[in-house]
Symmetry: C2
Subunit: 320 residues, 2 copies
C-alpha cells in the first residue's frame, strides 16, 4: 500500500517479479489490490485492513497491529515469507521491523544501507541512508559494524570504513561527527577517518557511515545532481544537428552510462540489523523498480544475509 503510485505500481512490480520466478505475497487492502492483478498471476494477497499514510507519525505503528507493513513483517517472523519489501513510509517500516521481526544481538537500531557506484568501479556502502534521523555517536559506531559486515558479505576483504564529514582532518565536522570518530576508531575495523562525500565516491572508502538524515540528503543530492546533469546534456545535444548525429553515434555509450548511474536500478536498499530481510523501496518506484526491489530481497534471502550479519557481528563483538 506504500509509494506514490500505490497500489498500482507495487502490484505491477510484484507481477513482474513473479513472472521472473520470485514468489510474491501482496499485503494490503484486498478489494483495492485484487482488481489490479491479472488472472493466474501467481501473486497471492494477504488482507490487511489498515495502511500507513505518508503523513503519519512512525510511532503510531506501535499500536496499529493490523497495518499492512506489520502484517507483512509477521509473515516473515512466522516463516511464511523470507523477506519484506515496502515503498511506503520508511520510519514506519523501521518501527514495524523492530517490533515484529526484532533486531540482531549487538545492534542498537537497524540502518538502511544503499550501494552507490564509485568512480574506481567499486561500490560504496552508505549507511544510514534514512532510517534514523537523529543519532547518538554510539549509533554511528553500530552502523560501522553493520556496514563492514555487509561489505564483507558483498566480497570486500577488510573493508575501509569512513565517517562522513566535511573535511578529512579529525577536527572537521559537527559535534556528532567529532564525538563519533573516537568510537569508530576503537572498533576492530579498518577505520580510515573522516571522509568527504566526493572522496568516498572516488573510492576513498568501502563503507561510509553517517546519520540517516545526512545520508538521505547525500543520496538525494547525488541523484538530483545527476538528473540535472543528464537533462542539461540532453538540452545541449538537441541544439545542433551535428550534435544530434553525434548523440546517435554514442547512443550505446549513453545507454550503458545511464545503467551505471541509475542509482535506483536496485529499486531499493536493505535495512540491516533486523532478524529478517527488509528492503526499503523508493517512494517514487515504478513497476520495474518495485520488481528490482523484490529481486534484491530474494537475493539477500538466498545469500543468507541475515545469518551472515549475525555471525560477523557476533565475532566482532567477541574481539571488541
Amino acid at each position: 500500500m506504500g509509494g506514490d503510485e500505490a497500489p498500482r505500481a507495487v502490484v505491477a512490480g510484484a507481477v513482474e517479479a513473479s513472472r521472473r520466478g520470485v514468489p510474491v505475497v501482496l499485503v494490503g487492502d484486498h478489494d483495492r489490490i485484487a482488481p489490479l492483478l491479472p488472472r493466474a498471476s501467481g501473486v497471492e494477497i494477504v488482507h490487511a485492513p489498515d495502511a500507513v499514510a505518508m503523513g503519519d507519525e512512525a510511532a503510531t505503528v506501535r499500536r496499529r497491529a493490523d497495518v499492512s507493513i506489520r502484517v507483512a513483517m509477521r509473515l516473515v517472523e512466522r516463516g511464511e515469507a523470507t523477506g519484506v519489501v515496502s515503498c511506503g513510509h520508511t520510519g514506519a517500516v523501521v518501527v514495524a521491523a523492530a517490533l515484529d521481526l526484532g533486531i540482531l544481538d549487538g545492534v542498537e537500531r537497524p540502518a538502511i544501507a544503499t550501494l552507490l557506484p564509485r568512480a574506481d568501479g567499486g561500490r560504496l556502502v552508505l549507511l544510514d541512508a534514512g532510517a534514523n534521523v537523529d543519532c547518538r555517536p554510539e549509533l554511528l559506531a553500530c552502523f560501522a559494524l553493520l556496514g563492514a559486515a555487509y561489505a564483507e558479505q558483498l566480497g570486500v576483504e577488510d573493508p575501509r570504513v569512513g565517517l562522513l564529514s566535511i573535511g578529512e582532518e579529525d577536527s572537521k565536522g559537527n559535534a556528532q561527527v567529532r564525538a563519533s570518530l573516537p568510537l569508530l576508531r576503537a572498533l576492530p575495523l579498518r577505520v580510515v577517518g573522516n571522509v568527504e562525500p566526493g572522496a568516498a565516491m572516488m573510492g576513498a572508502c568501502d563503507v561510509l557511515v553517517c546519520d540517516g538524515f545526512v545520508g538521505n540528503v547525500l543520496l538525494k543530492a547525488a541523484e538530483g545532481a545527476v538528473g540535472v546533469v543528464v537533462q542539461m546534456l540532453r538540452e545541449e545535444i538537441s541544439r545542433r544537428p551535428s550534435a544530434r548525429l553525434g548523440a546517435w553515434l554514442i547512443e550505446g555509450a549513453l545507454r550503458r552510462f545511464r545503467r551505471r548511474v541509475a542509482w535506483d536500478v536496485q529499486g531499493g536498499a536493505l535495512l540491516l540489523g533486523t532478524r529478517g530481510v527488509v528492503v526499503v523501496g523508493h517512494g517514487r518506484a515504478n513497476p520495474r523498480a518495485v520488481a528490482a526491489a523484490i529481486q534484491l530481497a530474494a537475493d539477500a534471502s538466498s545469500a543468507g544475509l541475515v545469518t551472515a550479519l549475525r555471525d560477523k557481528l557476533g565475532s566482532r563483538a567477541g574481539i571488541a
Copy 2:
C-alpha cells in the same frame, strides 16, 4: 596562505584577476609570496606573520590577531580593501569576519551562500553551505532571511524559501528541521515548506535553508556525483570508435554542458551577514577558480551587496 596549493595557486589567481582589472592585495608571508609574483604584476603584498593551518581549531583565531585572515579582514574594516577572499580554513574565515568586520543587525551568525544550477534554468541559493556546523532552529530562520534578501538582490522577486528535508510533509526531517519549520513559517517570507534536495535542484524553491554541515554534504555530494558521472561517460565513450566520432561531434555541446555544471566556476561562495564582502573559496581552487572568486568579491562590492542586505533585513525585521 589558504588552500591545498597555497600560496602558489592563490598568487597565480590574484595575478590573473589583477590582469583583468581587479586591484588585488595579497595578505600573508611576504617572503613566500614575493618570489611567486611576476614583475610589474600590480599585485600588492601586506605581510602577516602568522597563518591558520587546516587542522587548527577555528576558535584559536580569536587570540591570533596577526594571522593572515584577520589582517585581511582589518584591511576591509579600515576601508583599504572592499572585500576578502580566502581559500583557507572556512571556520577561521567566519570567526575572523565576525571579529574584525562585525555582523549586520538582526543577523545572529553569518552563513555561506552557494549558487547551484537548477534544471529549470534558474539558480538555487543554498545556505548555510558550511559556516555553521551545529545550528539551533533560530539560526535556520536567520539564514532564511539572509538567503531571501540575497535572492532578491540577484533579481528573484518574492523568492520561494524551502527548508531542506528528506520528505516534503511537515512531519519529515530530523528534530532540527521539525523545530525550524514553524519558525520559518512565522517570517514575512514566501516559505514553501520542506523541500528535498532533488526537488530543489529541479526548481521547487529559490532559496534552500539548512545547517552548514548538511549543506556542505549536499554540495559536495552533488559535485562528487557529477564528477563520477562525467568520468563514467568518458569511459563509455572511449570504448568504441563510433562513439569517439560521436563524442567529437557533440564536443561543443559537452563543453557548454561542462561550463553549466561546473559548480565551482564562480570559484567561491559569499559569506552573507557580515559588514563587508567575504568570499570563501574552495580549498582545492586552481588559479582560474581563485581569479573567479576574486571577481565574485569585486562584483558583490560594486553591486553594493552588503548595503542591500542590511536594508532588506532591516525592513523585514520591521515587518516581523
